[in-house]
């Protein structure tokens, strides 16, 4: 499974939405499901999928699927 697919899966599971609804443009608070509670579950999902522990700055900055990819890049997770 590619890292992109793993990330999309983490968003689908963390936010409780269909995998088809996940796209790079999906942003925090743009859908009712992605609120602060879901954000915490999403962080846990991403951390489990990629075996990383995000800094608080990154947890706060993780505001879209696209942004998640650039943040995970700092943790040596590649999306190329």
């Amino acid at each position: 499974m590619s890292n992109k697919h793993k990330l999309y899966q983490a968003f689908a599971t963390g936010l409780g939405i269909e995998l088809d609804s996940v796209k790079d443009e999906l942003a925090y608070n743009s859908i009712p499901q992605w609120d602060s509670t879901a954000h915490m579950i999403l962080i846990a999902e991403i951390e489990n999928q990629f075996d990383v522990m995000l800094d608080t700055d990154d947890i706060i900055d993780l505001s879209s699927v696209q942004k998640a990819q650039s943040i995970l890049g700092k943790y040596d997770v590649s999306f190329n």
Partner: protein, 182 residues
């Protein structure tokens, strides 16, 4: 000054008044205030002078990454009571910076103030009065553990005790307490 969960709460000084007035008078903030009256510079200066010597309330500027992003305050719920004597306090908050409204960092100032109220001031409960159409604030307070006490006209009176607060916020506190630099 209070510091934690990635934010700093500092006392308001006179240089902040213009910024605070702009925030408070903005449509986005004032629409959810109990009074929509526009605050004049004179009214605000009188308010500022009052709070300097009023021991029943305390106001802070919220700073995140050295930038002012909003304001938070606590007030004694009983007339004449000092903050140090009151059993119940009311917390007021607004995040003026759009980037952080609705973001989990918006919980940080409240967590800091609530910890201060319960652990240092020793209050029994925190209370708030929220307009029923302010769904964002109601949802926000629910996530902090507040429970509905009564609904009156278009206002919800909600209350938070320490046990409910600690239970509701343990996860978000952990996330906001991690190291802040990778």
């Amino acid at each position: 000054m209070l510091k934690g969960y990635q934010v700093v709460l500092r006392d308001i000084n006179q240089d902040d008044l213009s910024m605070l007035r702009d925030w408070r008078n903005s449509a986005e903030v004032s629409r959810y205030m109990l009074s929509q009256e526009q605050i004049t510079a004179e009214q605000q200066l009188a308010w500022f002078n009052k709070i300097q010597r009023d021991e029943s309330q305390q106001h802070w500027i919220i700073e995140y990454k050295q930038q002012a992003i909003g304001s938070i305050n606590i007030k004694a719920n009983t007339v004449g009571k000092k903050l140090t004597e009151a059993k119940e306090l009311e917390v007021g908050l607004y995040i003026a910076d759009n980037r952080y409204r609705g973001n989990i960092v918006a919980f940080a100032p409240t967590l800091l103030v609530n910890d201060y109220c319960f652990n240092q001031l020793g209050v029994e409960a925190l209370i708030a009065v929220v307009k029923t159409d302010n769904q964002a604030a109601l949802s926000y307070n629910q996530k902090l553990g507040y429970q509905l006490q009564k609904q009156q006209d278009n206002l919800q009176h909600i209350r938070l005790n320490q046990a409910n607060y600690e239970q509701a916020t343990s996860t978000i506190k952990q996330l906001l307490s991690r190291p802040s630099k990778h």
